[in-house]
Amino acid sequence: MKRGPSADPRAEEPVDPELLRRMRLGDETALEALYDRYGGLVFTLALRIVGDPELAREVLQDTFLRSWNGRETYDPGRGRVPWWLMGIARNRAVDLLRSRPHQARLREQEPLPPGTPAGELRHTGASDTVVLRQTVIEALDGLSGSQREAIELAYYGGLTQVEIARHLGQPLGTIKSRIREGMERLRTRLETLIKPTGAGRHHE
């Protein structure tokens, strides 16, 4: 069975809700399929946050175990399955990061861990994934450096706006503006990617 490094979060419907439905019935192969789709993405995110392959593996395993144990609690109204998984992984990774303060505060300034070049993706739908990745990269490139820095410190560094302001030596209001305007710009540029499609949502 392949273990692809990443998957396309757009392509989740209707596959992902069906996987969650099967997981609720105790179907372990559905968990494996979910892992095949998103294990690489979760590991990549975890590695970016904690910066250590062993800790990243711990986050990866914990994320999928929590998704298995908490499969009854997934609420499609709060977002798609990959967002749910990324939320679990990010929170767990930031918890680990914060529990190691001597390692944590410099992490966000370090270069990204080495990864497989996009051209080496080998799994079904790899070309779609490459296109998606390029779309997100271009959206991020559309931000100013300071906007991107503030958003990445918040997301990957797990810092609050107050901590970011202190870290960068900038006024809090400036940091708030950078995050707000940067996220709004991303929301606009990624609109087709993030707009709900209707499936799997139950309170609109």
């Binding site: 709060r78 529990s99 497989t116």
Partner: protein, 245 residues
């Protein structure tokens, strides 16, 4: 804040980068505002897409086997009846009084237990509000851990949403620090239940803010935080209940 909507804070809320007071205020608003809930869902979509931009790194080949091995550990599941249970006529007539008697006995036991807990519990004498809380039906969660050997805590969670916390054996914190109780949730930031200090004997009685739903709570933990409290847990787990259910 725009037209009553915290649109300026929504992006930071989605990123988990608000301070505690702002976080609580925005969360309370979003729960009752379809507009902000929809906008928040879009910001979560943005955040969910961010990792896609990273240079992908394949996960270790042995990771899946470890996940599968843990997932296969047997879980305690409720036993279901294969077919309806047919009761004799006399038992059908008697079942509701029996159920009522059982509930009354359970309530009596609960009240007795809570009074005993109140009587025996260490720390400053609880006020009337906490004592009233302890008499409501609910359940008790025990928190233990190795963060401070000998320390422990009990949380009483009332079925109507209230709660209180009894702590013993915790070290007195230095000035500028506080203990903070958290409800760690799946897929959303941890919710703060209380901030508190302990007396000279390491004891405390405090009222707890219990999240509206406990369905997504994966763990209940106590951490050491700055005196103003934190928006998310920043300290190591001193005491916890894992898994708490």
């Amino acid at each position: 804040m725009s037209d009553g909507h915290p649109v300026e804070e929504l992006a930071a809320y989605a990123l988990g980068s608000l301070e505690r007071e702002e976080y609580v205020r925005v969360e309370a608003h979003v729960l009752n505002c379809a507009f902000c809930e929809a906008r928040l869902r879009e910001y979560r979509g943005v955040i969910g897409a961010l990792p896609v931009s990273l240079a992908p790194v394949p996960p270790p080949s042995e990771a899946w086997e470890a996940i599968r091995a843990h997932a296969r550990k047997p879980q305690v599941r409720k036993k279901r009846w294969a077919r309806p249970v047919l009761l004799p006529n006399w038992l059908r007539l008697a079942r509701w009084p029996a159920v009522a008697a059982a509930l009354a006995a359970l309530l009596f036991w609960n009240v007795t237990l809570q009074r005993e807990l109140v009587r025996r519990s260490p720390g400053p004498a609880p006020g009337p509000e906490v004592e009233a809380l302890s008499r409501r039906p609910g359940r008790i969660v025990i928190l233990t851990g190795t963060g401070q050997p000998g320390a422990s805590a009990r949380i009483f969670l009332a079925v109507d949403g209230g709660g209180h916390l009894a702590v013993s054996g915790l070290a007195t914190l230095p000035r500028g620090r506080t203990y903070q109780l958290w409800f760690e949730r799946t897929g959303s930031p941890a919710a703060s239940g209380a901030t508190f200090g302990v007396d000279a004997h390491g004891r405390a009685w405090v009222k707890v803010a219990v999240p509206a739903t406990l369905n997504d709570v994966q763990a209940i933990v106590i951490t050491d935080e700055p005196a103003s409290g934190s928006a998310t847990p920043t300290g190591v787990h001193i005491l916890d209940a894992l898994p708490w259910r």
